[in-house]
Symmetry: C3
Subunit: 439 residues, 3 copies
């Protein structure tokens, strides 16, 4: 019989295959093919071509298996990661350290020179059940000295309605809303003391690609430290628009307004250092002023064109002392700053946030920026002589990476009229070096 | 010859296949089939049906490859995740923020109204080498005001022996052991001042499905602030049982006992606010009492039935003033509370923990609960007139998600007899709004 | 016709297959085989053997699919994990808790006994853009008492140049550079008060396998608390070498040198507790000394041989009072300690760091160590009688796991000459128990 020995042959073939590392895919087709060729059902050409097809198919199968495997694996790995986090509120943690070394070249008043941890903050933030967010941020530096609890942000966001409840910055002023990590100089201009800072309140915000408007109602501070006097409260609102908002050029215009009732036995107090934090000595200071409330505003403008930017703000504060039978007071301040990147970099303006953000250097050697600022504050009005000061600041920034920044600032207090020093014309100079990491 | 052109035909077929995006699995069988059909070995019906079978098989193969891939991928992804964490002590981090706004409708004594960060806590906890656990929790809010270090939990668990060493809550009282995140009202009942709070000690705990018993020996506070006087120490024990512990109904009974020696120059001081933290003014206060030690107990009962619950505790404190040659003092307090979920939700009672826990709303709109509480504290005894106060609290809770809770509380202090106000019958009312996030 | 019924048969076969859970891979070959066998093209032996080959091939295919899947899956999972972390600065978090219970057997001066949280620290550290590193560490314990901000480490590393900028330990002394988690006794020897601790500065470090040298320039403390007086500054350097550095034996030699200018109105103050922190009462104390600056050095030696180790340091401090018209002062101190592991463990000396590190027990029952220390401090010189004290400490350590440690220390203050007690020869004893977790 023509297929007498087929069985034996196939058995031998299988044995050989089994002793190899793997039976090739398509081996059954191979065996059948061999049998059909040997018993004359198919010719040699057919035998060889089908064999070739089987081999190609085998190769193809492996490739396909690998492709399916890769696709499925990546999906599965993503799923497993997501699952390992799912159902749990997300907690992202980070913080920053700012280290200062500074010297004050004293003129009339004595000042401190030395080193300090300017800021050391840690935060946790995250998202809960999709619609809710939160942030808790704490300041570890200088809380003893300032005799405050270091809680900064402590809020809850309800995203569908753009509502924020908690302890956070009242919306006011460009330099104030811009993080201290990204402001141009080591300290904000003196006029920043006219901003309210953080209070406990509720805020609504609406944003477009080149505008934002935020408004809220706020209580007074982070703790209820008083036993018997009611706290103050106020309202703040800020609107900004960027009529020019191209990749290369940005024009920012903004207006901030706020009103505040200062609570039972209300008192206000304005003072500031010479635009370096290394000394605790204030150069302007009103002392305590009995007041019923205040109204204030800030006009903001900024322009970015390629590596160059300029920004300016004007602050106006009216203090209502009517209850104390005294005339109202008006304090003002302003600054104009300009900066130029020496590298192929740009200030990171956000039309949606109406403020400047993180600088991620384009080149391998980081971003280098030079800058200058003229700054004024006037705390002299009526019977109050808190002092008027003008200053000129020159700055050099090196953004080594998106996380690491070094800055050198020279501040020349051009003149102090009134304020802490009875001798007019105090003219100190300050030099500050900052190292900063944000993680 | 009948199969003369088979080779050419097959070659053409392969070429076509190769020019396509992929050679179909089973193409070798296809080719063989075609050859056998063309040379008359098989008929048309066989040809078509085997072709159909090949196609189905091919489909099947892909599905199977996909299934195996998915299974293996998930296992692999899980392994990779586990491996990335293995060998390292686990560190889980979380915290909470409680934001309050409150107003006190004063009667005789003046109180504060305003806003505050009630609690802002951050913790790290985890497991080490399987048998050991730890927790470190810090309170960032109100530490300046209270002039304390904010360390709350700071302990080590040895799980095989159910032993805890460190700074943690002495086991005492249902409302005290229940987290402030999950108590029914924004503040615990006034009588909670009779609990000891956290001290440094060592505790053993045993639990069953519907019972627990815990006991420990504890030192005094978190720091050794004194130079020359020895600290006090005490023992605390708590046992609870849930004779009814079905899915729908839970009956809780508990007993807490504690004794404490108050240390060299021992002094005790009991006082409390009007069940809102927004005012710092106390409505009852004993002032400092020289004492040698104290013994106290609490009787606990609670019942949960579907959406409804009620809970009550009675506190008894005996103060030993024998050393000072004065008669002993007895102070007492109690509360009765009841709550009703308007949604399909229930208080989360744990028989193992003998306390209430996290509320995870069943519906998409969260869980809504109304509640009322009657509360009493009596700090009048012998020569001490710390005051006796009764209060009625009405509460509304919205557990928006397992992590987000809003509460509104109205507290009516029905009467204050003695205490801080010499005029009897002070009757303030307090309204508190709380926003809470736990992450 | 011989293949008349083939079609029907095959159809029936397909129907059966389809009704089963899956069409077996290779079913097309099976069907073809059956058809060829039934129409007599192949014999029974061939039929069965090809069937067997098809089955084996099928099995083989599944195995291969699984193998490819597993390989691809693991790669994919690794990729997904890496991708989920990539581009973000790394943040590793950890901390430690040290819980003490202690009693002082008073002799002349009164001391405190009790419990305290000795240390409760939390840190975040990580790497940024490969070249940069950072660490922020905070101490939560005892900051109120000590009236300090709790910031410990707060620095930035630039790895390519081995430079560290920020607030960190000045390089000085073996016991001071060794973490308090790994020093042999619960408190470092009294002479550790001669080390500078943490300041803000910049440091360069170079290391080999058995040597290190570090030097830096440092300001004064973490904050600029003064208004008008300039801070002090100093330089520190430390070099160590391990001439013997085998697996079993290590010989450490080190030299630390530091100079410091104490700033405007410079004052120094040296004092210490009786080598337990449970009492705040100091046994030696110079009070404030007006000084212009100081120079100091420490000589370090240590030897490890199997389970046994010994270590000794001598400290010498010269205080420059010339500006105050008074003679210079010299204060000294030393300690000699020795320890023996009762288990198969060894002190973890690092030649690269020039200090001792983490102890990871070899056995399942942890590492047990006994130790003794002789310690001296001499704060008597010229007109200053801060006191001279000698102490003997006996210690027992159980390193339960790499993260959990328990220690018991007995300290016998052999004698106090001068210092806080005017009656000479105060001889208190202290017993301290510590529980420690590091995560």
């Amino acid at each position: 019989m023509k297929y007498r020995n087929l069985g034996k042959n196939l058995l031998a073939g299988l044995a050989i295959s089994a002793s190899g590392s793997a039976i090739a895919a398509g081996s059954a087709v191979d065996e059948l093919l061999k049998a059909l060729y040997q018993n004359g059902t198919i010719d040699k050409a057919t035998y060889e071509l089908v064999q070739k097809a089987a081999k190609a198919e085998d190769e193809q199968n492996r490739t396909q298996i690998r492709e399916i495997s890769v696709a499925e694996s990546h999906k599965a790995a993503g799923d497993a990661l997501a699952k390992s986090k799912a159902g749990k509120p997300t907690v992202t943690m980070g913080g920053k350290i700012q280290l200062d070394a500074g010297a004050v070249n004293e003129d009339i008043a004595a000042h401190n020179s030395g080193t300090e941890i300017r800021r050391a903050r840690f935060f946790a933030k995250g998202t809960l059940d999709k619609d809710w967010g939160y942030k808790l941020q704490y300041e570890f530096a200088s809380t003893k000295e300032a005799n405050i609890d270091g809680i900064l942000d402590a809020y809850i966001d309800y995203k569908p309605l753009n509502i924020r409840i908690g302890h956070f910055e009242e919306p006011f002023s460009l330099q104030n809303m811009t993080s201290d990590k990204y402001v141009t100089f080591t300290e904000r201009a003196m006029s920043n003391i006219f901003t309210e800072g953080r209070n406990i309140g509720i805020q609504h915000i609406r944003t477009g690609d080149n505008w934002m408007i935020a408004g809220g109602i706020f209580g007074d501070g982070r703790s209820s430290s008083s036993e018997t006097t009611d706290e103050g409260w106020g309202v703040s609102a800020r609107g900004t628009i960027a009529p020019v908002n191209t990749e290369n050029q940005k024009l920012h215009l903004g207006l901030s307004l706020a009103q505040r009732y200062t609570g039972d036995d209300g008192e206000l107090n304005y003072s500031d250092r010479p635009e370096t934090h290394i000394t605790s000595k204030k150069i302007v200071s009103t002392g305590n002023i009995k007041a019923h409330g205040l109204t204030r505003g800030a006009l903001e403008a900024a322009f970015v064109s390629g590596p160059w930017h300029t920004a300016a703000e004007y602050y106006h504060t009216d203090i209502d002392r009517n209850d104390a039978g005294l005339s109202d007071l008006t304090f003002t301040g302003y600054y104009v700053e300009t900066g130029l990147f020496l590298t192929n970099d740009q200030m990171n303006y956000s039309g949606k946030g109406g403020k400047f953000g993180k600088i991620s250097p384009n080149g391998d050697n980081g971003a280098w920026q030079i800058a200058a600022r003229l700054s004024n504050i006037d705390l002299n009005d009526a019977d109050i002589t808190g002092g008027e000061a003008d200053s000129l600041t020159l700055g050099l920034n090196w953004f080594a990476t998106p996380s690491i920044r070094f800055s050198a600032n020279y501040v020349n207090i051009l003149d102090v009229d009134g304020g802490i020093t009875t001798t007019p014309g105090d003219n100190p100079e300050a030099f500050t070096l900052r190292s900063q990491v944000a993680f």
